[in-house]
């Protein structure tokens, strides 16, 4: 399969590779909140030698790996309601304190999934806006409003091939101009004041292909 074919089944990065790539951008000493789904996997791939503290908004700083099957406490869970552990040096706190960490700008990085990201960094990731959908927002709006740096991990296009990086989001917004960097199966893209800028390509992908799969103009100036 070569670049330019419509199926993306095996081009670019797979989910694990996307998480691995995002993990490279988590610096030593960072306080990090990881969204449910692929973002959660980022923790597994942070390069050795970096000490990173994970925050889960339900009330734990210093979240560790999941417990072994059959182990764990049903009251020690993450924001996705899955069992986790606490590392030495962890702390528990209530929801208002937890969201003070978020709203007050104390968390360095949050990695989230996306339904759409616009060229100015607007994020839509909580609702299709369909009439019969049950709206559910959780902590997404607080995270994007409060965390210093928002990273997005997402497939470049929807399952039906529509671009998720767009001029303007058609889905209800989670926050306006909040995204810093986007990790997709095809590329790493920064949100800049001039628009979306290509930073890195997945192996075998070229800028034209990424542009073709993107719903707004990509800045590729200086790209080799």
């Amino acid at each position: 399969m070569t670049v330019g074919e419509s199926s993306t089944a095996s081009v670019g990065w797979n989910r694990e590779q996307m998480a691995r790539r995002a993990a490279l951008d988590i610096p030593d000493g960072a306080y990090v909140n990881l969204g449910i789904g692929i973002p959660e996997q980022v923790a597994q791939y942070v390069p050795e030698g970096r000490e990173v503290i994970y925050h889960t908004e339900n009330g734990l700083l210093g979240m560790g790996v999941p417990p072994d099957v059959g182990e764990g406490d049903p009251e020690l869970i993450n924001a996705g309601k899955r069992p986790v552990t606490a590392i030495p040096g962890a702390a528990y706190f209530h929801h208002a304190d937890s969201f003070s960490m978020i709203r007050g700008g104390h968390i360095d990085i949050c990695v989230l999934g996306a339904m759409q990201v616009s060229q100015n960094g607007d994020l839509a990731n909580w609702s299709t806006g369909l009439a019969d959908a049950i709206p559910a927002v959780g902590g997404a709006m607080d995270l994007v409003a409060g965390v210093k740096t928002i990273y997005i991990i997402t497939q470049h296009c929807t399952k039906t091939g529509d671009p998720k990086l767009v001029k303007s989001c058609s889905y209800p917004l989670t926050g306006k101009a909040v995204v810093s960097r986007i990790f997709t199966d095809l590329a790493v893209i920064d949100v800049t004041s001039e628009g979306l800028k290509l930073v890195e390509l997945a192996p075998g992908i070229d800028p034209d292909y990424v542009q073709q799969k993107t719903g707004c103009e990509l800045i590729v100036a200086g790209w080799q």
Binding site: N58, G59, Y92, A96, F99, V137, A145
Partner: protein, 236 residues
């Protein structure tokens, strides 16, 4: 003498009235006061406004309370669960109202309600559908929405240990909404897994001071929502 102990969950919730606003602690099953919720189902109070982060799972606990048509209105941030259609079904049929609040705004509104703060500003939801219709104000060049403190007639909470003054400590991430709901409710009702003598909880580690608590009932081995759900249990 100050003795906030009551003998049973039934007695603890007996004065919850039709139309009351009830905050229910817990994030998923962590911290969910399932025995108190079941006592509220037995009591049968109707037309409740319930404040909880979620809408329960399976057919026990909060989901059962909703399924029993006792809840007229939910105030929550995430009314979806993988394993329950109770809320979605009622919501789609127009039989239950929903006030959807971002999770951190929900927490801060509850804390404000308990702290005597009638309103505050937050950047959360600005420019989104959940910010629509809200008063917007700019501070230092950034827009914020005005949010109001949230109070309740009752709070139903679960904790790990309590004493007769109502001092509480929680278990791990079951702490979640407990301390702030205790502050925001007129009558705070707590089920404790263990009751301690005064002084057995070190004053340095008390999480919720007794001033915020009205009643404590000991439920030594509280049911786990996930176990009940996996067993296919329903309440009543």
């Amino acid at each position: 003498m100050i003795d906030k102990r009551v003998d049973s969950a039934a007695q603890a919730v007996a004065d919850i009235f039709d139309g009351a606003t009830v905050m229910i602690g817990g994030f998923g099953e962590a911290g969910s006061p399932i025995e108190l919720i079941h006592a509220l189902i037995d009591l049968g109070a109707k037309a409740l406004t319930v404040v909880n982060n979620n809408t329960g799972s399976g057919h026990v606990g909060l989901a059962a309370l909703i399924e029993n048509h006792q809840v007229a209105r939910m105030v929550c941030s995430y009314p979806r669960t993988a394993n329950s259609t109770v809320f979605p079904d009622l919501y789609r049929r127009g039989e239950i109202e929903l006030e959807l609040v971002p999770q951190g705004t929900l927490a801060e509104r509850i804390r404000a309600g308990g702290a005597g703060i009638p309103a505050f500003y937050t950047a959360t939801s600005v420019g989104t559908p959940l910010g629509e219709g809200k008063e917007v104000r700019s501070f230092d060049g950034r827009d914020y929405v005005l949010e109001y403190g949230l109070k309740a007639d009752f709070a139903l909470l679960k904790c790990a240990r309590a004493d007769r003054y109502g001092n509480l400590v929680f278990n791990k991430t079951a702490r979640n909404f407990g301390p702030i709901m205790a502050m925001a409710a007129g009558t705070t009702i707590v089920q404790a897994s263990a009751l301690m003598e005064l002084g057995e909880i070190d004053p340095e580690v008390v999480v919720t001071p007794g001033i915020f608590v009205n009643r404590v009932v000991t439920v030594a081995n509280p049911a786990l929502e996930s176990v009940l759900v996996n067993d296919g249990r329903a309440y009543p």
